[in-house]
Symmetry: C2
Subunit: 220 residues, 2 copies
């Protein structure tokens, strides 16, 4: 596709309503006020639609999300979010100060490398019967580390008083924690930040409970 034509087209998000990594990308699009189309990839139905050859061509890792944007296809939610941030105007998702940027990235990576990969669908399916305890263990362990870090970095939001990629990572991870019945009351800073963020429009419109592929019995 010719690049100039590709740039005129809306980005396409291949995602799943309940996937926390898909939600990260939806929050970023919402914060940046970017219109996009969604193509649902049902991770459960038909044994997992992410396993088809058609989807594998978009993301060889066979996970959601993937995004077609500006004539290229990207996978890995944090790479997608940073590409959106670097190429689109509006709210910036990383602070200007290098030390604050590093703190934002540290929080993002603690979640995106230290927690989420260990409790995602593919991994807990391999764990089998003990999957809930496994997921709880790794979420609790991650949150025990995240809580003292956020206590130091947080203002209104995860790092200071401006929304950043750290907030984009936090809210979907808390959502996962609640699904796995982790007691968020043990983490007062995480709880307080999540309560503040979840009230913001960008986090509401992107919430798993109201996406095109959200089943009726989950929809609120």
């Amino acid at each position: 596709m010719h690049t100039s034509l590709a740039c005129l087209m809306k980005p396409v998000l291949y995602g799943y309503f309940r996937s926390s990594c898909s939600w990260r990308v939806r929050i970023a699009f919402a914060l940046k006020c970017i219109e996009y189309d969604q193509v649902p990839v049902n991770l459960i139905k038909d044994g997992g639609q992410q396993l088809t050859d058609q989807y594998k061509a978009l993301n060889p890792m066979q996970q959601v999300p993937a995004v077609s944007i500006d004539g290229i296809t990207l996978s890995q939610s944090m790479a997608i979010v940073q590409y959106i941030d670097e190429t689109r105007p509006g709210l910036r998702l990383l602070p200007a100060d290098p030390k604050q940027r590093a703190q934002v990235r540290m929080i993002c990576d603690l979640i995106a490398s230290g927690i989420q990969p260990l409790q995602n669908l593919y991994v807990i399916q391999k764990i089998g019967a003990e999957k809930v305890q496994w997921a709880q263990h790794f979420i609790n362990r991650g949150f025990e580390a995240l809580e003292p870090i956020l206590k130091q970095t947080a203002g209104t939001y995860c790092v200071g008083n401006e929304i950043s990629m750290a907030d984009i990572c936090l809210v979907p991870q808390v959502y996962n924690a609640e699904r796995f019945k982790v007691d968020i009351n043990h983490f007062p800073t995480i709880k307080r930040l999540n309560q503040t963020l979840i009230e913001l429009e960008a986090f509401k419109v992107s919430h798993p409970s109201c996406q095109p592929d959200t089943p009726d019995d989950v929809r609120t």
Copy 2:
């Protein structure tokens, strides 16, 4: 500590010779020609020195690496590498073009979120008897996705003809793969890139076989 004084001091890397995430940071320091001090944190000895209260204060996640730099302490290797890149002159570790930057980050995150966390020491200790098969499974799965991506993006290095963070992630992951006896011959692009990179000075001086805490029987 007063910031101006902190900036005069060499960065301190808290790491472990064999940790692939510590190696990422060592490569970045070497590529940027930055002198630094190393404080070894032995992940095996005394039940794991990363579990002490002293180390937990540096990195609540109780993992290596952590880096003290410019008066702050950072954890999460990719956040550290990007902080170094954004605050130090010399070779840039991310391309200038936004699409290439996104490709570099996609490759980094595939490794740093999609492979390494699933085969790190803490996780395979929890898996127990089947730990080698578990690690092999997740490395093979990740490399099967990485190979076609690199086939599209690679020139001399992972993305085009300039060294980037993607190369910093690739080489230590191949080292882990070899430790777990994954057959790299199945992944010709990964193998070729690794062979090229491993000959570069920055990758040699930072190699696990020649660090201050490398045991004599591993040292080459």
